[in-house]
């Protein structure tokens, strides 16, 4: 009797979960945008452009995938962009000084991870709301990076290292492979591990999660550290793709990453969302910019169009969610 877990009696039922349905609708939205762009622009559907879109989406995705976990716990990490900048600058310096890309990559990941861990400590041990803790962190990191770089640019990295961001393997850009790998890992982690389940539970009700015996603080530390490490990974991709880094590269990365998470259907209130959704969110954002470039839409219109797309995407999501219930 005490061991109900062993009494697995009823037959398994197959079903499409709510999450799967949402992801499906979101994919549909992305395809719709693709269809519109394909009609408007001849070059859109070329293989080259599609790979191009995927590669561009990958950078946003790397940052946004870690962020998704944070948002699933009802937190936010506003420091991801600043983290990318600092990690890139430090990793770049290490590669310049030691000539070893491997060491540089490790440093970049470690730097990102440590920043994430510090965020986690502020949120758990110091009990500062994540929004504020990471906003404070954002400025501390900016200050550090500005001081460290003193207005310089790091540039010129070994060709081998640069393959990570710009190279191809069997006709596909390497970042696209990385994207697939991390999409897989992220999805497996969130959906198919008990840690993932615990993260959802924490987001849905942190008090209940703690009283259910979940080590909330440890899981939060993990989640912020992962988010930081993914920012570190993004910094490496950035570095090797752009062959250079400077202090201000992070500023323009944060809001798109958050937007990707939200367009992807992850709720800021925690407990709801998927990593795959975030991938599609990143894809939609990238498609929109790609489309505007292809169609030579004036720069003035770009923020307006992006803003409308963000609202439309989330609105569509909610419509379908209601119907699906």
């Amino acid at each position: 009797m005490t061991d109900i877990s062993k009494e697995a009696l009823s037959p398994p039922r197959s079903f499409l979960s709510q999450d799967a349905i949402q992801v499906f609708y979101r994919l549909l939205a992305a395809l719709l945008i693709c269809a519109v762009l394909a009609v408007l622009s001849d070059s859109f559907l070329s293989l080259g452009n599609i790979l191009n879109v995927l590669r561009q989406a990958s950078l946003t995705f790397f940052i946004a995938s870690g962020l998704t976990l944070v948002v699933l716990t009802a937190g936010l990490d506003l420091s991801v962009g600043a983290n990318v900048a600092l990690s890139a600058c430090i990793a770049g310096t290490v590669i310049h000084k030691t000539g070893s890309p491997a060491l540089g990559i490790l440093t970049g990941l470690a730097c990102g991870g440590i920043v994430g861990l510090l965020n986690g400590i502020m949120v758990t041990a110091l009990r500062i709301p994540s929004f504020i803790a990471t906003y404070g962190m954002l400025w501390v990191l900016n200050g550090l990076t500005y001081w460290y770089m003193a207005g310089e640019t790091l540039h010129g990295f070994p060709a081998g290292f640069r393959q990570i961001g710009s190279g191809y393997l069997f006709g596909l850009p390497i970042p696209v492979y990385l994207l697939l790998v991390f999409l897989g890992i992220g999805t497996l982690f969130a959906q198919r591990t008990i840690w993932g389940q615990e993260i959802y539970a924490i987001g849905a009700n942190p008090v209940a999660a703690r009283l259910s015996g979940i080590p909330v603080a440890r899981r939060l530390l993990l989640v912020y550290a992962v988010s930081g490490t993914m920012a570190g990974l993004a910094s490496i991709i950035f570095l090797s793709r752009l062959n250079s880094a400077e202090a201000d590269i992070g500023e323009s990365l944060t809001l798109p990453a958050i937007a990707a998470v939200l367009i992807g259907g992850t709720s800021l209130f925690g407990g709801v969302g998927t990593v795959f959704g975030t991938f599609i969110g990143a894809l939609i954002l990238t498609l929109v910019l790609n489309g505007m470039n292809l169609l030579s839409v004036s720069a003035n219109w770009q923020p307006l169009v992006t803003g409308i797309i963000v609202i439309l995407a989330v609105w569509l999501d909610m419509k379908t969610r209601r119907r699906a219930q």
Binding site: P129, G136, Y146, L268, T306
Partner: protein, 316 residues
Amino acid sequence: MREAAVVSQPNPLQRIPGVAIVLVLLIALFSAVAPGFLSVANLSNVLVQSTILTMLALPMTLIIMTEGLDLSMGAVLTLTSLCVAIVSLATKSMLLGLGAGLLVGAAFGFANGWLVAIIGIPPFVATLGTLGMAQGLSLIVSDGQSVVGIPHSVRDIYSATLLGVPVPIVMALVTYAAFHGLLYHTRFGTYIFALGGNREALRYAGLSPNKLLIVVYAIGGAMAGIAGLLMTARMNSGHPTAGLGLEFDAIAAVAVGGTSFERGNGWLLGTLLGVIAVGVLRNGLNLISMPSSVQVASVGVLVIVALFLDGLRSRA
């Protein structure tokens, strides 16, 4: 956390957020080390510089109390500032400019409220979207250019004094008084607490939470309009990037001031102190010529320390 069974009267000291302590410390520190910090001219500078942010942070407090957020405020301020510039340039009238700014600001605020309340889009997303739209419209109406040549009556708003007090400070004080009265002494203010604290309670009381929410966001937009006038007056021109990012400053000031992001607990005076603390910090560091990278980090440290102190005391 957990409610205690025994009713304890709130200790007034406990309500002082960490920022009040930090503010006092900062003032003491800079009085000692920064020559000229305590001069009337300098203090008046700090206050005048804080007025625009005050006008955003006060309505932001109300919005955050409804468990909402307005990320579009900086961009809307930018747009309204441009509207003030363009309309006052065309009509030679400061008041028409202000009217245009107010109208556009309130329209955006209304749109935010509509998206959040009626359409049901989470505030963060809705206002992230309108942020893009306001920013885009700013670029479109100005074609990315500054708008100059506006009438002197606009610029005078920023530099004039009333009984020796700079007009922006007067405006900020009036705004504060209005918000204080609104939140703590009117029915509407009571409902704002309920919007964040227990929306169902409002519904059962026969009130429409949606309408109330729209009004709260619209107030935010309208205040961005008034702040837009000050911004234009301050720059004596309109500029398509002038206010970008100010929303985060406002949110930080609100949080530092002790307003929580959950369950409708807000404190207006704390917000004011938060705004001033940021102002004092920047000013003081400038006066002692702190390297700029330290200044960058210091704002982050301020935010973290103030919230940390808050957390410490709420646990005690």
